[in-house]
């Protein structure tokens, strides 16, 4: 059974649809990349899948007993967080908040999980540093480590590499690829179509026309070829 199944989903704000009649499935272990022009509704889709906003119509089914506290999320960067006084460790361990249950404080298990996530993201030496003093790439690693603490099965990433230089971008993609190899299901919004096509198993293209299928199918589809040409011309 699929981890996530979306049927005839329409989403938008205040009753006005941005994307309509979406249908797709995400199987455990797959790597789905969501592409589309700016403003096409990729972030809105992420938020709807996470129940941060209500769908206009249609259904979202979480299969395999997937619960909200098994999902990790890396939001698109917001300015608000940037002046917040918090250490890297405090932010990473806050990814364990759903494991608290009725407890008030993090225990051994959560601390070990946070340490492990920081090790995987290679930010152990930044543990006590203030988040706002870090570079953009380091900040993204911190948020990814936090998402890892929350993710037991699936991780949703919204433009994880925007604003990062090519070297850091490559490193981050490598980390995400490794996660996928370890069995974590990935759903990623990306601008960067070429990388998306290298790593992803499935592609969801939203915009004026919608496409969902495997990478191969996308490459040979009309919409895929058009988008590739257009994006290729820009870079």
């Amino acid at each position: 059974m699929a981890l996530l199944e979306v049927n005839d989903l329409s989403l938008g704000y205040d009753g006005k649809a941005i994307v309509e009649h979406l249908n797709f499935k995400v199987n455990a272990g797959s790597y789905l990349c969501i592409v589309g022009e700016n403003g096409s509704g990729k972030t809105t889709l992420m938020k709807t899948l996470l129940h941060l906003q209500k769908p206009l119509s249609g259904t979202i089914n979480y299969g395999d007993g997937l619960k909200p506290d098994e999902i990790g999320y890396l939001p698109q960067q917001t300015e608000v967080q940037r002046d917040f006084p918090a250490s890297v460790y405090e932010i990473v361990i806050s990814g364990c908040q759903s494991r608290l249950g009725r407890r008030a404080f993090y225990g051994k298990e959560e601390k070990a999980l946070a340490a492990d996530a920081m090790r995987r993201m290679a930010i152990e030496d930044l543990k006590d540093r203030c988040y706002r003093d870090l570079s953009g790439g380091q900040q993204q690693r911190v948020l990814l480590a936090r998402a890892l603490c929350a993710a037991r099965k699936i991780i949703l990433l919204d433009e994880p590499v925007s604003g990062l230089d090519p070297k850091v971008t490559a490193e981050l993609y490598k980390l995400i690829e490794d996660l996928n190899r370890e069995g974590v299901t990935i759903m990623m919004v990306s601008h960067d179509i070429s990388t998306a096509l290298r790593n992803a198993t499935h592609i969801l293209h939203i915009g004026s026309s919608v496409f969902f299928g495997t990478r191969q199918e996308y490459l040979s589809s009309k919409i895929g070829r058009m988008f590739l040409e257009q994006e290729g011309g820009e870079h």
Binding site: L52, D69, G72, E90, Q97, A104, R146
Partner: protein, 276 residues
Amino acid sequence: MDILFNYLQYPFVRYALIVGVLIALCAALLGVPLVLKRFSFIGDGLSHVAFGAMCIATVLRMTNNMILVLPITVLSAVLILRTGTNTKIKGDAVIAMISVAALAFGYLIMNLSNTPNVSGDVCTTLFGSTSILTLTLGEVWMCIILSLLVLVLFVLNYNRIFAVTFDENFARAVGTDTEKYNLLISVITAVIIVLAMNLVGSLLISALIIFPAISAMRLYHNYKQVTIAAAVLSVAAAFAGMIVSILAGTPVGSTIVAADVLVFAVCWIIGARNGR
């Protein structure tokens, strides 16, 4: 020193010190998430609501005015939170409207009723003047119990308050009931404001909430340290302010706030030297 020890022999002075320190502690703890969530204006609005409620209590000649003021303020906190998160109505405008309306009607009610000393009463309610020294034993206990309750709630929910303050969307996405914690924050704020009315009066409460948090943020750069530093700075300023006010005979509320401003100035300079 002798004068001070002389004063400390009076139970009402000791009460005042205990209550003052507890209130300053609670206000500072809550101040950190309020400032970071850009919620400090809610505190300001609520303090004016509390003023209006206090005026009604005074006119009704209620002996224990908290019985009226506390529920009204808590209720307003809930309402303000509801409208504040509603995107259709401008949250800050609503709060400004409620708060000036409460001020105006409060003063009007005081004047219409034939209370003997209107300007004195209003001044006391707005600036706190000497009321901290005239607390009854019942009020002292109520203050102690409520502030301990606030403290316990704060400590038990520390990690979730951090999570909801740092990134509300993420918290919701991973299944945290963010509305519950936002409600908790605003109800606790309302309780603190009602308590603090006795100490500094309704116009100066915001200072008690905002200054220690901002001062601490100049010195420290992680959440735990900022929280602890805000608590320590606030208690120190409140204690010093009360002692000075007793010795020099200055009004309690404004002396405490002056101490908070002084602390902020020092922290600002230290922060600037550390290159911030």
